[in-house]
């Protein structure tokens, strides 16, 4: 503690009176009800679902994936994209949805873009919303396939 008060500042009367004040203060303790109240507050705070620290990462990653795949397919032809065969690019096509990790799609050699048509219910397998009353309707789409025929990405064509 503070025991190095210069001797010229020492004042026996002052020290006595400060001791009395300290003794008075030492009798004071925090009210008992505070602990229970704070514990309740703590529990309430913990039960409230906290927003994950990096909550923005999944939507950002999805947007980046869509943008990059869209750029890869629709952008100007570059030497590194020689393997991509664009069979059709309708003007009213939407963005691509990656079905495989983006890194893998980017490294896939000899990809092909194929126009196709399939039942709308199949969209549900990829996690897309499908209205039950329209599940049987056919939907036009473009599929990006790997050289082995594995679907890599899809976009719907209106």
């Amino acid at each position: 503690m503070n025991t190095v008060i210069p001797s010229e500042s020492r004042d026996p009367l002052l020290d006595l009176k400060l001791d009395a004040a300290r003794r008075g203060l030492a009798r004071e303790v925090a009210p008992d009800h505070l602990e229970a109240s704070l514990a309740r507050h703590f529990r309430a705070l913990r039960t409230r679902a906290p927003r994950p620290r990096f909550w923005w990462m999944p939507p950002l990653a999805l947007a980046a994936t869509l943008a990059l795949v869209s750029w890869m397919v629709r952008g100007p032809a570059m030497p590194s994209h020689e393997g991509i065969t664009v069979e059709t690019t309708p003007a009213d096509a939407g963005p691509f949805l990656a079905l495989k990790p983006l890194e893998r799609i980017a490294l896939e050699p000899g990809t092909r873009l194929v126009s196709t048509q399939f039942p709308r219910a199949l969209l549900a397998d990829w996690g897309l919303p499908v209205a039950p009353e329209r599940a049987g309707e056919p939907v036009r789409a473009e599929m990006l396939y790997s050289a082995d025929g594995e679907p890599l990405a899809v976009r719907l064509v209106n």
């Binding site: 006595l16 300290r22 704070l38 507050h41 529990r43």
Partner: protein, 202 residues
Amino acid sequence: MPPENLEPELALLARLKRGDEAAFVALYRRHKDAVYRLALLYAGSAHAAADVTQEAFVFFMTKPGHYDPGRGTLAAWLCGVARNLARKQFAGREDATDPSELADDSAPLEEHIEYQTPLEKLLRDEAAEEVRQALARLAPHYRDVLILCELSELSYAEAAQVCGIDIGTVRSRLSRARAQLAQRLGAKARHAGGEGSKEAVS
């Protein structure tokens, strides 16, 4: 006094950050009375001090990451939170005078004097009451260091951490504050003595 081993407290802090209620309660029990006493000195009443104490610990449980062990003890940090909350809550009563604008031996302005302080209720004996009255008439920056170093018994380093000033400033302010307090207490004693002798003559 050997330095306090901070390991157990830091372990509790780590558990608190993971959401461990028992760790929070353990830390609360360690520091509640010191925080409450400091709040009493600043806040004005037991009720207000309880509010300030509660707010300080709610802040702690909500943002435990704000405490940086590298910058001082948890005790001093909590006292600093309570002091700031109390000063904010009772801003109407606390003046905002820049300490540098006050001469060391200047007489306090009327608006600097606090007539109602928590000490009034908590210090019941005569000597303590004299200290209270004299303390209330000091400029706030002197009252600050007296409350922290003399009555709450924080170290100079901890008081410096709480006030956001360096240790040298704490030392010099405390020295001047003690001198002013002693002067006021001495003047009061002489005044009381004079009144006593007048009564004895009459």
